[in-house]
Symmetry: C2
Subunit: 203 residues, 2 copies
């Protein structure tokens, strides 16, 4: 277990995890974000190593073969992944690292790093989720039904997550995430090395 | 599992758990305190049912026989105990209840109610604990050695507690306890009934 916390925010589209992610970073600005690797083309305003690490398909496949990813996914024929080494380096240095990622990614991360702190962001009801998705105006009826179906299937896998935060009000929800992060640092199992040190040195 | 949280603050004498307990109640004034039962004589300024429930030795023994206590201890030939029924009633009604109690009491509570949230308050070091006990000026050399010995033995049983809060600054420590209480309410296992309800009603 590293000194830093690996924090995963997940939840269905429409749950507001992006907004909460940004609000948490405003309250706790020292938390680091991880930079993904992708095979998609660099856009004109993007900077290598800031927005993404851009790789060819061959390079990406080699990274998978070498077990270099914490999680990887294919979205519209492009690969996106989180390289393990820089994240573990940050955690080792005592930095907390936050991820905003889907269930599939979250599950991969928890498998590779069981000490990850996983938080599921959920709208207060499915009815509310539906209203939010409709309000976006970007969803076809088909895509809306798919998203709602996915949200129900995903929530039924709730045991994959340590915490759930119902997002009724984004500020309140962000404060809850901040409380969870602060509380986790006080969890007994994360402090065992300190206690053992105290008992050994009797300081 | 009840809707309310049963919160236990424990730690060695000199850890500052009383101060933290009071500060937490100032931040979260809705948390209830439990009223103990005792066999010691009522003092002139004490009110039955406010400070304590005063019982005879016989009544107390009967309560033990009837399994009415969450925890019980004998201190200087008097018995002190926490009656189970009023605490469970408060928890059932969704109220959080806080206890400031020693390790022995905390362990009894956790055994009878495993969903209890147990927080160990610890000075930043044994050196600091010693200084605080000396500063009190109330401890003989013998009693000081006993208290320090007990603190070391108790800390070695750290696995009995869910969280540890190092009390360097009482305000910071109280804020940590508040964060723990807020975070616990978001723990997945404490929200299972809500999630199951959402999935069943698809609301």
């Amino acid at each position: 277990m590293y000194d830093g916390l690996l924090i995963v925010l997940s939840g269905p589209s429409g749950a507001g995890k992006g907004t909460i992610h940004d609000k948490v970073l405003k309250i706790l600005p020292n938390i680091k974000k991880s930079i993904s690797v992708t095979t998609r083309k660099k856009r004109i305003n993007e900077i290598e190593g800031v927005h993404y690490y851009f790789k060819t398909e061959e390079e990406y496949s080699q990274m998978i073969a070498d077990g270099e990813f914490l999680e990887t996914a294919s979205v519209y024929c492009h690969n996106y992944g989180t390289p393990k080494a820089p994240v573990f380096e940050m955690l080792k240095n005592g930095n907390d690292v936050i991820f905003e990622i889907d269930n599939f990614g979250s599950r991969q991360i928890k498998k590779k790093y069981p000490d990850a702190l996983t938080i599921y962001i959920m709208p207060p009801s499915f009815k509310e989720l539906e209203s939010r998705l409709i309000a976006r105006g970007t969803e076809s009826a088909d895509s809306l039904a798919t998203r709602l179906g996915n949200a129900k299937r995903e929530l039924s896998e709730y045991n994959d997550f340590d915490y759930i935060v119902f997002n009724d009000d984004a500020d309140v929800a962000a404060e809850k995430v901040v409380a969870i992060i602060r509380a986790e640092k006080c969890r007994m199992n994360r402090n065992e090395h300190i206690i053992k040190g105290m008992l050994e040195n009797k300081k």
